[in-house]
Symmetry: C2
Subunit: 375 residues, 2 copies
């Protein structure tokens, strides 16, 4: 991409608070360079007048050169809708979403790390939840992330304290791929306490944001960011969430754009599981207990990695056969008449059952009475 073009994209990425559908429409129509010039000059084609209001406050400020310098210094790059690496398929759902509700695709993504957006978005699950997680939530998030990594799935989250951090760490520890989607500039470490974790993610996975360098985290940006977390993932799992939680917002996005939504249940006595238990109870989320269940939920072919439930040796027996077994004492034996009386089954049926049970090795009649075979 030519320098002038990249500068234009960087300028456009900062000029409106994303998502901004009118801005994308203009760029699609006239290209990034012409779009940037038109916005700076406050002179856009009449069909695109809607772009003027959302770009009004920042149009005169062009920090694109220093933003791209910052980017280069920290090893980040700007990925645009023109790039081969653009996760167009995953973001399609956002193009269709209601823009009035902060939907809409991003104009561009600032990314940092060895993975590509397309790579991250293929076979990935978002693990999200409370910042104030319990040790139960932290443990489950870490375990589940490790299981996903073991199956070759990426773990997407928001880089926050609590569940997000536990999920990223679990994936990294298992040698898997993880992506953190930020609600601030790619050059910011938010939260500060996760600076080291974000560095590790940038070394092994990918840090992603639609906010230009220097942008501070803000509450509405978390809400906007959440739609990206849901869109980039094949499915969203809420690991732990209280009654009101940012995770509920991401979960709502998952429903709106058609991503399978799962939740991990927790004790009804735990405040940090009130939200997850509630979305399961209301039928909004499917209960998932581990990584395999999460993969099954998010797999289009319904692939299920769960082991079959174990069967007992007596599972194939008829009811009468089971009742005959029940009638026999742990020690010593009974006659056929005694078995018939205790079990309430006719003598004929007792004899029939004993014959088949002896063949199957459950009972032994060689000692004059019938007794159970041990082990």
């Amino acid at each position: 991409m030519k320098d002038e073009e990249l500068r234009a994209w960087a300028y456009l990425s900062a000029v409106a608070e994303p998502p901004c559908a009118p801005l994308i429409a203009l760029v699609d129509d006239v290209g990034a360079v012409a779009a940037a010039a038109a916005i700076k000059q406050r002179a856009v084609p009449s069909a695109h007048r809607r772009v003027l209001v959302p770009t009004e406050a920042r149009a005169a400020v062009d920090r694109s050169a220093q933003d791209l310098e910052t980017c280069e210094r920290i090893g980040a790059r700007l990925v645009t809708r023109d790039d081969a690496d653009w996760p167009a398929w995953q973001l399609l759902a956002l193009d269709r979403a209601d823009t009035a509700a902060r939907g809409g695709a991003p104009l561009a993504l600032w990314v940092r790390g060895p993975r590509t957006c397309a790579e991250i978005a293929d076979s990935s699950l978002a693990l999200i939840g409370s910042r104030a997680a319990s040790s139960y939530g932290d443990y489950v998030a870490g375990q589940m992330a490790g299981q996903l990594a073991d199956h070759g799935w990426s773990v997407i989250s928001g880089g926050a304290y609590g569940i997000d951090g536990a999920a990223h760490r679990g994936a990294l520890a298992a040698g898997g791929c993880t992506a953190a989607v930020l609600a601030c500039g790619i050059d910011r470490d938010y939260p500060t306490g996760h600076a080291q974790l974000l560095r590790e993610i940038a070394q092994e996975g990918l840090v992603v944001t639609e906010y230009a360098p220097g942008t501070a985290a803000a509450k509405h940006r978390f809400l906007t960011r959440n739609r990206l977390v849901a869109a980039l993932a094949s499915g969203v799992i809420v690991v732990e969430a209280g009654r009101r939680s940012g995770a509920a917002n991401t979960a709502a996005w998952a429903k709106r754009i058609g991503r399978p939504l799962g939740a991990v249940p927790g004790p009804v006595t735990s405040a940090t599981s009130v939200g997850t238990n509630a979305i399961i109870a209301e039928g909004d989320a499917t209960l998932v207990v581990d990584g395999a269940a999460a993969i099954a939920l998010a797999s289009p072919d319904g692939h299920d990695a769960r082991p079959e439930s174990r069967r007992r040796p007596t599972d194939g027996l008829r009811d009468e056969q089971k009742q005959v077994l029940e009638a026999l004492p742990a020690r010593g034996g009974l006659t056929v008449d005694e078995i018939a009386f205790v079990s309430g089954i006719s003598v004929d049926e007792v004899l029939r059952s004993l014959a088949s049970l002896e063949l199957a090795g459950f009972v032994d009649g060689s000692g004059g009475t019938w007794q159970l075979v041990r082990g």
Copy 2:
């Protein structure tokens, strides 16, 4: 009821292992006295030949006199299909159930306690679960039983160790009504360690069984008993259950005879919640978190006793208003232009939002810049 008739019912109650649909058909047809005589003489009307095999083993044994004596001694009574107290409506579902799978209504019920079967079955929930319950399960069962008692609902269970016992105790402690349905004779204390608990239930609520006095508990009788627990209750709640558990059998009965089925979620790390989490995940049970949710599930009118979720003061604001609030720092103030830049919102819209936010008491512009109002 005449003595001869009661004797006949007592004999019939013991002569076949319940449930025995052919026996009920014969009694309905010729009455209890004639039915008992016919079975003893092994000479039944040809239309009822199917009753001969299941009564063969015990036909010659008539312990009815001593069974009724035992009954009188311990303050129990025999309730039959002819009694006004018979819970016919609740048991209707069993009449329709597949008799090959141990379905079918009971012929008679031996009961002990100040309550009636009809009373117990009206507005009642079965709380069931593992004998090897965790302290979490015990706690939740006790709490939920108390909440049900507070709402005037009966608590039905199986009198076993673990969840059953915690449920009975919770109901008794709250001064509520509880019933234990046994898998043995009314004169037996099973399990032995619950002798005192069963005595208390017999004093305040009702102990119920379809097994004649002297009948020992046996595995197939627990399975048969479970259908009665499900049938007598308006809904069934599994509080805690492992991968394989008797509770799963009661839950299956609830589904088969059309009783609402709920389950309490638990930690995915807990072996005693594997079963409850699984039936929720598979869509067989609704997740319930407390007594109010259980009542809502079992109430035909969907009555819901849950409090509304709390709202925040900012819940009614438009997105732009929230973004303006977000842009303001915790301390100090900003100019309108600064707010526009930080939030990415046009100056016009910032002014509009500030005006309404000031009216609502969220912001103060009297100091030259705009700042947040505390509290």
